[in-house]
Symmetry: C2
Subunit: 329 residues, 2 copies
C-alpha cells in the first residue's frame, strides 16, 4: 500500500478502522518537524480527538536493569490474551543522543511485537524532552482513536521524563528489583511520591526472599508519605516477569484503581487537569520561543545583556526596556 | 528635612553622600507599587548602578531559633568596629502574611540599629517572592552606591527564598545550632549544597560539646557533596553569638573566600552570571504576565481551556490557535 498520496481524511478513516499502517503513518507525521507535516498532523489529531473511548494509560518507570522490557512484554501479552488492545510507547529524550540505551525497542519485545493486538512504537529521536513528550501525547490520541484501549508508556528512570510521563497517564507504576539491602538508595524521592504502585520485579529463584524483604521496606517507606489527593494508598507488589508470575495481581490492582477513581470522578478530573496543564505549559513555552526569535529581541537582548553583565544597567530596567519595545497583540 | 519635593537628582546626590534619610527614601520608592514611584525608582537605580565600589554581599540563612538576629547583631557590630559600613536586609515573603515571624526587625538588633555605620531595613511586605527579591536586589544597588561595603541579607529558612538570596550574594552562610544528635535532620539538601560555610551557633555553656560534635557531623556530610564549580571547599565553624566568640574566624573565612575568588576571577564572573540570570528571569515573568493580561488572551483562553478540558481540542492545537492570533512585535 502506498501511503504517500493519501488525504488527511483517508488517514483518519484508516486509523478509525484500526489499520496499523495508517496509525504508523500518522505518528510519523506527528514526529516530523516539517511545517507541512505539522499541519496535516494537527488535522489528524483534530479528527481523532473527539472519538471517545474507554482507555487506560499506564506509565512504567524503573532504572535500567529493573526489567522493564521483559515486564512490558509479559504484561502486554497477558492483556492481549484478556482481549485488550495494547500499545506501547517510550519517552526517552536521551535515546537519540546515547543510542545505546534502548536501541532496538522492537527487538526487545519479541513476542509482543508479533501480537496482532499489540502495537509497539520505538521512541522518537527527540531533541528536547518537550518535543518528545508532545509527540507521545499526540500519539496517544491517534492510538486511542484506532481502538487501542491500554496504552503503556515506558520511561527510562532518569531526570525529568518521569514527571512528563506521570502527567500524561492514569496510573504510574514504578518497577524495582530487590538488591542486597539498601532498597531505598538511589531512588529519587519524587518518583516514589508519584507512584500509584511499586512492583518488585525478579521475585524468582534465589531472589524471592530479597523481594519479600524489599516489599516490606517499600511498604514502610510509602507510609511515610502523606495520603494522595485522590485517596489512593499506593500498594507494593512483587512479580517475576521472567516466570510470568504475579502479573494478574498487578492488573487487578490497576483495574481496581480505575474503577475506584471513576466512581469518585477523579479519573476524569485528572485527565482534564492534565489537558489544561499541557495547554498552559505548551503555550508558555511557545510564547517564550516566539519572543526570543523576534528580530527586535534578537537585536536588543545581546546589547542589554552586555550592559547588565558589566553592571551598567540593572537587570530589571533592562528587561523593562525590552518589554517596552515589544507589544503583544 | 522634607523629602517629599525632592528631584530624582537630589535623591541620588543624597545617596552618594551617604545620607541614610535619602537611602531610606529611595528604598521606599523601590518598594512602592505605584507606577509613578516605579519610574523614579528606576531612575534612581540607573543613577546608582554605575557607581563602582568594592563590596561583599553575604547571605545568612537558618531555621527560626538558630539565632540569626543575635548573630547578625554581633557580627555586624564587629564589622563596624573594623571600619566596615554594614547594611542588613531581609528576604521573607511570608512576613507580610504571618506578621509574627520577624516582627520588629529593628528591635531585634538593638545595638546595631544605634550604630551610625550600620543600616537595618526591615523586610518589605511583599506579595510574592519575585516582588520581594526584586526589591532586595534593587535596594542593594542603592546601599552600595551610598557607601555600604558589607551587605548582609538574611532569609528565614523556608522554601524558595534561600535560592533567591543565594542568587544575589557572593557568600552564602548557613547558621545551625547543635541539638541532641540528628544534626542533619530537617535540613533541606539543597541548602547544604548552596552553603559556602556552615556555622554552628550557640557553642557556649553546656552546649560546647554538642557544637563540636555537630561540627564533625556537618564536615563529614559536606564531604559527600561533589566539589563546587569555583573550587571552594565549604568549611564548618562554631561560634557563640551570645558570648561574642568565634566571629573573627568567620570573617577571616569570608575574607579569605573573597580574596581567592577575586584572584581566580570567579567573584566577578559570578556577579555577572547572577545579573544575566535575573534579567532573563524577570523578562520571562513579565512577558508571560503581559500575555495573560492581553484582551485577546483573556477572551480566547477560557474558551480554549473548556474545549481542551472536555477533550474536544488537543492542548497543542489550542495553544497554536491562540498563538496564531497574537503577534509579538
Amino acid at each position: 500500500m502506498n501511503l504517500a498520496n493519501l488525504s488527511t481524511a483517508d488517514i483518519i478513516e484508516g486509523i478509525f478502522s484500526n489499520n496499523v499502517a495508517f496509525v504508523s503513518k500518522a505518528i510519523t507525521l506527528i514526529e516530523s518537524t516539517k511545517p507541512a507535516h505539522r499541519i496535516i498532523a494537527n488535522e489528524i489529531i483534530a479528527g481523532c480527538i473527539s472519538k471517545k473511548s474507554d482507555t487506560i494509560r499506564i506509565g512504567v518507570t524503573g532504572v535500567p536493569g529493573a526489567g522493564k522490557s521483559t515486564f512490558i512484554e509479559q504484561f502486554g501479552s497477558m492483556l492481549t490474551e484478556l482481549g485488550k488492545k495494547v500499545a506501547v510507547l517510550t519517552v526517552d529524550p536521551s535515546s537519540s543522543r546515547t543510542k545505546g540505551s534502548i536501541l532496538g525497542d522492537k527487538t526487545r519485545m519479541q513476542e509482543l511485537v508479533k501480537d496482532s493486538n499489540a502495537y509497539i512504537r520505538p521512541s522518537a529521536s527527540g531533541t528536547s524532552l518537550g518535543g518528545v513528550t508532545r509527540k507521545t501525547r499526540e500519539s496517544i490520541v491517534v492510538l486511542e482513536a484506532a481502538g487501542f484501549d491500554t496504552i503503556i508508556i515506558e520511561t527510562i528512570g532518569v531526570g525529568q521524563s518521569e514527571t512528563a510521563v506521570h502527567s500524561m497517564v492514569d496510573f504510574f507504576l514504578l518497577l524495582k528489583i530487590a538488591g542486597a539491602g539498601d532498597e531505598l538508595q538511589g531512588i529519587k524521592r519524587g518518583i516514589i511520591e508519584m507512584a500509584d504502585s511499586i512492583v518488585i520485579n525478579k521475585a524468582d529463584g534465589n531472589n524471592i526472599q530479597n523481594a519479600a524483604q524489599a516489599k516490606m521496606e517499600f511498604t514502610r517507606a510509602l507510609h511515610m508519605f502523606p495520603p494522595k489527593e485522590n485517596g489512593w494508598s499506593p500498594e507494593v507488589l512483587t512479580c517475576s516477569a521472567l516466570e510470568n508470575k504475579g502479573l494478574e495481581a498487578i492488573w487487578k490492582l490497576i483495574s481496581n484503581y480505575c474503577e475506584t477513581m471513576k466512581e469518585t470522578g477523579y479519573f476524569t478530573k485528572n485527565r482534564q487537569n492534565q489537558n489544561e496543564k499541557w495547554l498552559l505549559q505548551y503555550l508558555e513555552q511557545e510564547l517564550l520561543s516566539k519572543f526570543y526569535l523576534n528580530p527586535k529581541t534578537k537585536k536588543l537582548l545581546p546589547l542589554l545583556k552586555k550592559e547588565v553583565i558589566k553592571g551598567e544597567t540593572s537587570p530589571f530596567s533592562a528587561a523593562e526596556k525590552l518589554l517596552a519595545l515589544l507589544t503583544i497583540d
